[in-house]
Each structure stands twice: as C-alpha cells, then as structure tokens.
C-alpha cells in the first residue's frame, strides 16, 4: 500500500480556465520524504490540498483522476476522516492557529476525534516536545514568533497521530533562524520518527540534505521525479522551472563542464570538499589538457 497515490489527476478551480494540475501521477512510499519544487503558480499548493480531500470537499472545481491515501480514496470520505491519516501545515503561520493557547491548539484535533482526556494530555506533551516547544502550553499563539507558530502548527497536526505530514511552504514567512529551527524539526521527523513527509518548496537548498526524492513541477505538470542527486545532476532543469539550484550542485556542474567529465556530483559542502581535495592531490599521470 502506498502512502499517497495520485492517478492521472487534473484539477481546475471553479470559474477558472487553466488546469491548476494537469495529468499528475505520483506515488509516495511509506516513510519517504518527498520535496516538491516549483515556482509561483506551479501547482504545489493545489497538490497539497488534494492529499486530505480539501479538494474536492471544501474547494470546488473540476477534478479528474483519483487520489488515495493509505489505500483510501480521499474523494469518497469526509475531510475529517482523511485528517486522521494526513496532517497539513499551511504557508501562513498566522491564519492556521485559532486557539487562545498553544496547548488548546495542539489538543484541538484529538479533541475533535474524541480522544480520552488523559491521552490528549500525553499527546500534547509529546508533540510539543518533538517540535521543541515544550513549556509553551499556556502562551497565546499570537504572541509567538513566526517560526514558533509554524512549529506549533506542526505539533497540532502531529497530535492527531497522522501517518503522513504535508507541509506547504512552511518556511515562507520565516527569518533564517526560524527556518533553521523548522528544518531541524523536519529532519527529526524523518530520521527519528520515520514519518512520511511531503514538503512543497520554492528553494532546493534546505530540503536537499534530507529529501529522498525531488519532484519538479511547472505549470501544473510534473516534470521530473527522482533522488536529489539524480535530479540535480543538471542544474539547468531547476532553473527551467524557476527554482534556484543549491550552490554546491552549481559548483559540481561547473567543474564537470570545465573538466569535460560528469563525475562530480555532491549534495553537501563536505562531499564537495572531499571530491575536490581528491582531485587536487591526485598525482597527475596524463598531461594537461
């Protein structure tokens, strides 16, 4: 059973002419961390809204194809049921938190699911600890920084014990420090908790280190899907969809062109350092070209 299965999905918002998503097929395995890359209007948010049935249940339009999550077709069950499998975090930190305290915010989902009180308490503490917001129980969400708000939003999704987390540009409104905190939470989710994660991003840099797969989108179409190393081999692909390639992979690609090879491919600064040192220290057998 796949965590997520989009089968030839097309979607057009009501009263609009263009297909916001066009013939998109995508399969996500359990425990996979998939980053969806695309520029403004490429269809990332639309795809996120499909994963728990907000499209078509809350947002009207013309939907074709099928979307299933852990074997259930989300079009055929209410959002509140899909929500137990898929947690969503939206782009805007301000408008997805609506309670008067952090604790209530995180408890809201399990309360709706009629989870017993003691269990909710345990879950709230667990989720707040996981996102590094322990002890903020009685703070008003309004009084938190953007990064803290997003982490509370993640905790609020996690407290429903979903099997998959979908994040739509969660770092969009954050400063560098807020971003750092957020990505370290995402890394933990993958590495320590084996959570299935779908992350929509405009920037490849930060998700590079812990994505199993990059999916490139443009104008509602899925252009390419594969491990970051493979997708980044040719940085032109990223530029084509309007996403800035990470600087290390730019270096690799420049070296490849300059030296007429294709052996350089690194995703981290450490990898780059090792490969370049090796190259520099290598005894030169053949003459210069």
């Amino acid at each position: 059973m796949k965590a997520l299965e989009l089968n030839n999905v097309r979607f057009k918002y009501r009263d609009f002419q263009n297909w916001a998503l066009d013939s998109v097929s995508l399969e996500v395995e359990k425990g996979e961390f998939v980053t969806i890359l695309g520029c403004n209007g490429s269809g990332k948010s639309t795809l996120c809204l499909l994963t728990n049935g907000l499209i078509p249940h809350a947002i009207q339009g013309n939907l074709q194809g099928s979307v299933s999550v852990f074997g259930n077709n989300v079009g055929e069950q209410p959002v509140s049921q899909s929500a137990t499998k898929v947690g969503i975090v939206f782009q805007e930190p301000e408008s997805q938190l609506f309670c008067m305290s952090v604790e209530e915010e995180v408890a809201f989902g399990p309360e709706n699911l009629a989870v017993p009180r003691e269990e909710i308490k345990t879950r709230v503490e667990w989720a707040l600890e996981l996102v590094g917001m322990k002890g903020y129980n009685n703070r008003s969400p309004f009084s938190l920084s953007g990064g803290q708000k997003q982490r509370v939003a993640i905790a609020a999704a996690l407290s429903m014990r979903p099997e998959m987390l979908v994040l739509d540009e969660p770092a969009y409104a954050l400063d560098p420090v807020g971003r750092l905190g957020l990505y370290s939470v995402l890394r933990d989710l993958k590495e320590k908790h084996g959570m299935t994660v779908i992350l929509a991003e405009r920037d490849a840099e930060e998700a590079l280190a812990f994505s199993d797969r990059f999916v490139l989108m443009k104008d509602g179409k899925l252009l390419e899907s594969g491990p970051p190393r493979q997708v980044l081999r040719d940085p032109a692909k990223l530029r084509e969809i309007g996403v800035a390639p990470p600087q290390v992979t730019e270096v690799a690609s420049l070296l490849n062109t300059r030296m007429g090879t294709s052996k350089f491919s690194f995703l981290t600064v450490e990898e780059a350092e090792r490969a370049i040192l090796e190259e520099v220290l290598k005894p030169k057998k053949e003459g210069r070209r």
């Binding site: 728990n52 929500a83 209530e104």
Partner: protein
C-alpha cells in the same frame, strides 16, 4: 493592543480561582440585584461590596479607572441629563423656561448612575479575573453549542491580529502619502476606505485558510467531542454560589413577596 481587548490579568486570588461558571452566574445575579434595588443607599452598598471584590481581586485603581473610563463619562452624563429630561416631582430646585430641575429627579439620576456603575464594575471583575479561554469553556459547559463557543473564541483570538493588521496597513498607506488625520469628516472617511478595503480582503483570505485549517484538524468529526480542559466545582465554589443566592434571594423576597420598598 492585546491589553486593551483582553482585560484578564493573571493573579492567584480566590476570584481568579473560582469556577468561571460560578462567576458568570454571580455576575448575572448581581446585575439582577442592581435592577431590583431602587434606593440609592442600597445601590451604594452594593457598589461598595463590588469594589471590595475588586480590591480582593487585586485590581489596581489606575487599571480599573482606565478600563472603566467610558463608563465613568457615561455616569456623569446620566447625572447631568437625567434631571433635565425628567421634570416630575417636587420640590423644584431651579427652572429655566420649559426646563424644570426637581430634587427627586436629581436623586433618580444619581441612582441610575450608581446602577450603571454596579453593572459595569461587576462585569469588569469577571473579565479581569477570568481568561478568555475559561470564559468560553464555561459557556460551552453551561450548554452553549460548541460551534458558538468556538466562533466566540476565534473572534476574541483574532481581534488583536486584525488590530495589528489595520495598524500596518495604515502605516503602509501613510508611507504612500495618505493623510488619515487631516481634512473634513467626509475627506477623512474617504481616505479610510484605502485602509478598510485591504483590511477586509486580508481578513477574508485569513478566514478562508482558517476554515481549511479547521477541517484539516478533524473539526466536526464526532458529536461526542472530548475536551482537554475540564472545569470542576470545588467546595468553595458551592459556598460562593450559596452566598450569592442569599444575597439575591433575600432582597427579591423582601421586594416582591413582602412588598417592602427597597
């Protein structure tokens, strides 16, 4: 911004600890009492009692005066205007053309002002000692539908957000040269449209995301929803309720059954 809308101040007094449901009932009973009592000295006694509660809740005079400043102005207005519009009774203290100021009317004005003072202060105590979340929780526990409670909670929660939003839009428009405090009333209200429209658009967008967020968190999944926070009546809450009942029942009995004029 938040301080203006949310009057709640954290402290550990018996009024802060009291079950919010008891406090809501208390406020309703005391308000009712303020309407039952018609003699000034009894109303002043009630006002003294309410101020004693305020003191026990550790409300400072300056904060109270700030929160109730509009009420105070309203009370002064009542005291001035009442005798002008109520010419009944004797003796007449002064007269000017059709306007007659009579002594009973002056007292009636002062009495009404005292009543308003009682009402406002007693509600202020509730807001001062009860957090918004407890207030909403109490309402739901007392039978208000959860959706209504949630709507109220969300409104309260977003007031400061929209306040901040209006401020930043004002700043943005001022930076573009919009004059918000100059010109006549008409010109000024016209200029305010430039603040209002972006605010409304932004508020609607927020509402959109909000509704998606609510649904994504399984809102409405089950009728038998649980609550993280429970309210429990302690013995002291029952005592408080009994004391309050006595405070109301005695005067009510005297007035309506024994026909004593109070």
């Amino acid at each position: 911004m938040g301080g203006f809308i949310d009057l709640y101040t954290e402290a550990d007094t018996f009024l802060h600890r009291m079950d919010p449901r008891v406090k809501i009932v208390a406020v309703l009973l005391l308000s009712l009492l303020a309407f039952i009592l018609s003699h000034l000295y009894l109303l002043l006694a009630l006002l003294t009692f309410i101020f004693l509660l305020l003191f026990l809740a550790r409300a400072t005079i300056s904060r109270t005066a700030f929160a109730l400043k509009f009420v105070l102005r309203f009370m002064v207005l009542i005291i001035i205007l009442w005798p002008i519009f109520d010419p009944t009774g004797t003796p007449v203290l002064a007269s000017l053309g059709p306007i007659k100021i009579t002594e009973p009317a002056v007292w009636r004005g002062v009495t009404s002002a005292a009543r308003v003072g009682c009402l406002a202060t007693v509600w202020y105590i509730l807001m001062f000692t009860t957090s918004q979340r407890d207030l909403v929780r109490a309402l739901v526990k007392m039978g208000v539908r959860f959706d209504f409670g949630l709507t109220l909670a969300i409104s309260l929660r977003f007031l400061p957000t929209f306040g901040a939003l209006i401020d930043s839009i004002k700043d943005a428009q001022r930076a573009r040269g919009l004059e918000l405090s100059k010109g006549g009333l008409l010109k000024r209200s016209k200029n305010y449209v430039a603040v209002l429209v972006p605010t409304i658009v932004s508020a609607l967008r927020t509402a959109d995301t909000l509704s998606l967020a609510l649904q994504s968190r399984a809102y409405g999944a089950r009728a038998d929803r649980t609550y993280l926070r429970d309210l429990n009546m302690r013995p002291s809450d029952y005592v408080a309720l009994a004391v309050l009942a006595a405070i109301l029942v005695l005067p009510a009995f005297a007035k309506f059954v024994m026909q004593v004029d109070i």
